[in-house]
C-alpha cells in the first residue's frame, strides 16, 4: 500500500463554521489545488475559498436558451411545414400555444444539460475512478462531516506542513489519500475510443430493441392481443381474388339507397327549364329552408342573402341574391347552382339533401319578396 503515490491529505471538521474557517485559512496559506466536500451546499463557501464566481450560470442560461429556441423552431416546422392543420380557426403559427412547451423544454434542457456538463467537467466522466472514492473521508463527508483536502500536486504541498496546518485549525481527523488507479483522474476521456464505442453500442442496442418490440414483438402470439387476425380489413390487398384487392366492386348497375341521377350536369339552362320545385312554401318548409340557409349559405351570402359575407374578406364575397337576374331565375336554376356549384362556389350536393335544397329555395324566395315587395304586399 505504502508504495502507492500520495494523492492528497484530507481533514474532517465537525461544523459548517469550522469548514468555512478552514477553507478561508487554507486559501490564505496560498494553496491552490485544494477542495472542500460537504454533505450539503454551504453558501458562502465559494467566497471563503476565494473562487471566482462560477460560470455555470451562463452555461445554464445558454442551455436554457438553446431549449427555448429549438422548441420554437420544432413547433414552427411542425405547424408550418410538416403538418399544417387548422386548429380552432387560429393561424398556423399560433405562438401563444408554443409558450408552455417552449417553457418546459427550456427547463428540461437547462437542467439536464447542466447536470451532464457538470458530470463531464467536474467529475471527469467517463472516468469513474477517483482517488477519493471509497475512502473513509468520502464516507464521512457524505454523512455528517465537513471535509477539506490539499492535493499533493499543489506547489506548496508538504505532507507534514499540511497536517500541521489542518491540526491547528481543529480538524477532528486527518488522513492521507493514495492514488489507487494511476492516471485515471487526470483528464476527461470523453472522446476515447472505448467510451465512444460503448456509447454507440448502447445507442444501437436501444434502437434495435425499440424497433423489435414495437414492430415485431407486438405482432407475435401471445403479445398481439388479437390485433392481427385472419380476416380482410378495408383497403387491404388480398391474394384470394384475382385482381389482388381485398375490397370488391359493386355489381354493375347497383344503385345506392336514395340515389337519384342528376341529368342536368353541365346544362344549367335545361335545369331551369325542366326542374320544378316539388315543395309548397308552407311554414314548415320555409322554416326548414331558413335553418339550412343560415347553416350552409349565410357564411358567404350573408344572413339576408345580400352577399355581405360574415367571413371578413377571407373568402371572396358572392353577389347579392336580390339582383334582377336571380329574382327572375326559375327555381331549377338556383337548384342547379346549389347542386353543381358556380364560379368559386363548390357543389353542396353532398352536404344538403335534395328536399332541403328545394326548401332553401323557398326561403330565398321569401327573402327576395321581403326585399322587393309587390305593391299588394304593402297594403
Amino acid at each position: 500500500m505504502t508504495e502507492k503515490p500520495l494523492y492528497a491529505v484530507a481533514a474532517l471538521f465537525d461544523s459548517p463554521s469550522a469548514i468555512m474557517h478552514a477553507a478561508e485559512e487554507t486559501a490564505k496559506a496560498g494553496f491552490t489545488k485544494y477542495d472542500v466536500n460537504t454533505p450539503y451546499p454551504v453558501h458562502g463557501m465559494d467566497h471563503a475559498m476565494r473562487l471566482r464566481t462560477s460560470r455555470m450560470g451562463y452555461f445554464a442560461f445558454a442551455f436554457g436558451l438553446f431549449g427555448t429556441i429549438s422548441a420554437m423552431l420544432l413547433m414552427t416546422w411542425i405547424t408550418l411545414v410538416d403538418y399544417p392543420l387548422v386548429i380552432g380557426g387560429k393561424p398556423f403559427w399560433s405562438w401563444p400555444a408554443f409558450v408552455p412547451i417552449a417553457f418546459e423544454v427550456t427547463v428540461l434542457s437547462a437542467a439536464v444539460l447542466s447536470v451532464l456538463a457538470m458530470i463531464v467537467i467536474y467529475f471527469k466522466f467517463p472516468n469513474v475512478g477517483h482517488p477519493l472514492h471509497d475512502t473513509a473521508y468520502m464516507k464521512a463527508v457524505s454523512e455528517d462531516r465537513f471535509g477539506i483536502y490539499v492535493q499533493a500536486a499543489d506547489p506548496l504541498f508538504d505532507e507534514a506542513k499540511v497536517r500541521k496546518h489542518f491540526a491547528s485549525l481543529g480538524a477532528v481527523r486527518i488522513d492521507p489519500v493514495y492514488v489507487t488507479l494511476p492516471g485515471v483522474a487526470d483528464r476527461p476521456r470523453l472522446f476515447e475510443k472505448r467510451f465512444m464505442g460503448v456509447l454507440a453500442a448502447t445507442a444501437i442496442v436501444t434502437v434495435a430493441v425499440t424497433y423489435f418490440s414495437l414492430n415485431k414483438l407486438l405482432y407475435m402470439e401471445p403479445f398481439n392481443w388479437m390485433m392481427d387476425q385472419n380476416k380482410l380489413k378495408p383497403q387491404k390487398p388480398s391474394t384470394f381474388f384475382r385482381d389482388g384487392m381485398g375490397q370488391r366492386q359493386p355489381v354493375p348497375g347497383t344503385v345506392a339507397r336514395g340515389f337519384m341521377p342528376y341529368p342536368f350536369k353541365g346544362k344549367p339552362d335545361d335545369a331551369g327549364k325542366y326542374l320544378v320545385n316539388p315543395l309548397l312554401p308552407t311554414k314548415e318548409v320555409v322554416d326548414r329552408g331558413r335553418t339550412k340557409f343560415l347553416t350552409f349559405c349565410s357564411p358567404c351570402h350573408g344572413n339576408f342573402g345580400r352577399g355581405d359575407s360574415r367571413l371578413q374578406g377571407q373568402f371572396p364575397s358572392p353577389p347579392t341574391l336580390h339582383s334582377d337576374k336571380v329574382r327572375n331565375w326559375p327555381d331549377g336554376s338556383i337548384y342547379h347552382v346549389i347542386t353543381e356549384g358556380q364560379n368559386v362556389m363548390p357543389s353542396y350536393a353532398t352536404q344538403i339533401p335534395r328536399d332541403d335544397r328545394w326548401a332553401i329555395i323557398e326561403y330565398i324566395r321569401v327573402l327576395q319578396r321581403a326585399q322587393n315587395p309587390k305593391e299588394s304586399d304593402l297594403k
Binding site: 454551504v42 453558501h43 458562502g44 464566481t53 450560470g57 442560461f61 380552432g88 380557426g89 387560429k90 401563444p96 400555444a97 409558450v99 408552455p100
Partner: protein
C-alpha cells in the same frame, strides 16, 4: 430563550423630521390633486380611487401576508426585517378611508350598481345576488376588518414579546397564521373580484384572484425591500451581513416570474377558448392605444425585472435592489392602471389626476412608518429566533 449578543443600536430611533415633513407634503399634495380631480370629473376620480384602494390593499394585505408567511413557515432569515412588514401593514387601517370616495360614487364606477342598467341586462341581473350595493359594502367592510384584525393580533403579540420574551407568543402567532392564510385567500380574491373584475361585470376569469394576489405579494415585497435598504442605509436596522438581502431579492425575482406565469396562464386560456364573453376584456386592452400599454406592461413588469434580477450579484447589491424595488412598485401601479382604466375610457387616458395615487400611497407609507418608528422597536428584540436570524446564511 436566547439573548442577542450583538449591539442592535437604538431600535427606538425616530424618523428624521425632514422625512416626516415630506410624508405630509406628498400626502396632502395627493389629497389636493384627488380633490381637484373629483371636482372636475367625479367619475374619473372614482376610477383613480379604485386604483388607490387596490394599491393600498396590495401593500397592506401583502405585508400582513408576509408576516403570517414568516410565522407559518418558521422562517428565520426574515426575523430582523419582520417589523418592516409589520410597520407597512399599518396601512391596513387606512384602507377603509381610501374606499370612501368610490363607495359614495359606486354608480359612476361600477356598471352593476346602477339599478336600471342592471335590470335591463340579463347577465348583470343573474349576478345581482353577489354584485349589489349593500353586499359590496358589507364585503369591503368584512375584508378590511379581517386585515385590520389580524394586523392588530400579529403586531400586538409580536410587540408584547419585546418585553416578555416568551416563546409562547410565537406559537400563538403561528396558530393565528394558520387561521389567517385561508381567510386571506378568500379576502384577496374578494378584493380582486369586487374592485377589479366587477368593473366589467360581463367578463369573468377564474384566475383573476390569483393574478391580483401575485401582484400584491410582489408589491409588498418590493415595498419591504425598499424600506429595508433605506433603513439599513440610515443605520436603523442592525447590519445584516448574511444572505438577508439575497433572500429578499430572490423572493422578488420568484414573484416576478409568478406574476408572469399567472398573467400568461390567464391570457393563454382565454386566447385558446376564444369565447366572445371572455376575449372582450383582452380586446379592449389591445385597441385604441391600449396595445402599447399592454406591451409596456409585459416589458416593465416582467422582462426588465427578470433580466435585472437574474444574476446572483444583483440580488446582493443594495443599490440594484433599491432601484428594482421602486421599479416593481411602479410596475404594479401600471398593472392596476391597465386593469382598471380601460373600463373608464376606450382610449388611453393618463393625466395628472392619476398622479394622486402614488403620491397618497407614498405619503401614507412614510407617515405610517414615522408613526411606528420611535413607538415600537424596529427590530423584534424579544424574538427567540433573532440571534440565529442575524447570523443567517443560506
Amino acid at each position: 430563550m436566547s439573548t442577542v449578543t450583538r449591539d442592535l443600536g437604538n431600535p427606538l430611533r425616530p424618523m428624521p423630521q425632514g422625512v416626516v415633513r415630506w410624508g405630509w407634503i406628498l400626502l396632502l399634495l395627493g389629497a389636493v390633486l384627488s380633490a381637484v380631480a373629483y371636482l372636475l370629473d367625479a367619475r374619473r376620480a372614482g376610477y383613480d380611487s379604485v386604483i388607490l384602494v387596490l394599491f393600498l390593499a396590495s401593500l397592506a394585505a401583502g405585508a400582513v401576508f408576509l408576516v403570517a408567511l414568516e410565522y407559518i413557515s418558521g422562517a428565520v432569515w426574515s426575523v430582523p426585517m419582520r417589523r418592516v412588514s409589520e410597520f407597512l401593514a399599518s396601512l391596513a387601517p387606512v384602507l377603509p378611508v381610501a374606499g370612501i370616495l368610490p363607495l359614495i360614487h359606486l354608480q359612476d364606477v361600477f356598471p352593476w350598481a346602477t339599478q336600471g342598467k342592471a335590470i335591463a341586462d340579463h347577465v348583470m341581473q343573474a349576478k345581482s345576488p353577489y354584485l349589489n350595493t349593500s353586499f359590496f359594502v358589507t364585503r369591503f367592510a368584512l375584508v378590511c376588518g379581517i386585515w385590520i384584525l389580524f394586523f392588530w393580533l400579529f403586531t400586538r403579540n409580536s410587540r408584547k414579546q419585546d418585553t416578555t420574551r416568551e416563546q409562547r407568543l410565537t406559537t400563538i402567532n403561528i396558530r393565528l397564521s394558520a387561521v389567517f392564510l385561508p381567510v386571506f385567500a378568500f379576502a384577496i380574491s374578494a378584493t380582486a373580484i369586487d374592485w377589479g373584475m366587477s368593473l366589467e361585470p360581463h367578463w369573468y376569469s377564474t384566475i383573476f384572484g390569483v393574478y391580483y394576489f401575485s401582484g400584491t405579494v410582489l408589491a409588498a415585497l418590493a415595498a419591504v425591500t425598499l424600506a429595508v435598504v433605506l433603513l439599513l442605509e440610515g443605520n436603523y436596522l442592525p447590519k445584516l451581513e448574511g444572505d438577508h438581502l439575497y433572500s429578499l431579492g430572490a423572493l422578488m425575482f420568484a414573484f416576478v416570474n409568478f406574476w408572469a406565469y399567472i398573467a400568461f396562464s390567464q391570457f393563454l386560456l382565454i386566447w385558446y377558448a376564444n369565447l366572445p364573453e371572455e376575449t372582450a376584456w383582452f380586446i379592449t386592452r389591445w385597441h385604441n392605444g391600449w396595445q402599447a400599454v399592454s406591451i409596456i406592461l409585459i416589458v416593465v413588469h416582467f422582462a426588465v425585472p427578470y433580466f435585472v434580477l437574474l444574476p446572483q450579484e444583483a440580488k446582493m447589491d443594495p443599490k440594484r435592489l433599491k432601484f428594482m424595488a421602486v421599479w416593481i412598485l411602479f410596475a404594479h401601479l401600471l398593472d392596476l392602471y391597465w386593469l382598471v382604466m380601460p373600463s373608464f375610457d376606450q382610449g388611453v387616458s393618463l393625466g395628472w389626476s392619476e398622479l394622486s395615487v402614488p403620491l397618497i400611497v407614498t405619503g401614507a407609507a412614510i407617515l405610517v412608518f414615522s408613526w411606528n418608528m420611535g413607538r415600537h422597536n424596529i427590530v423584534p428584540v424579544g424574538d427567540p429566533k433573532l440571534e440565529r436570524a442575524l447570523h443567517f446564511h443560506l
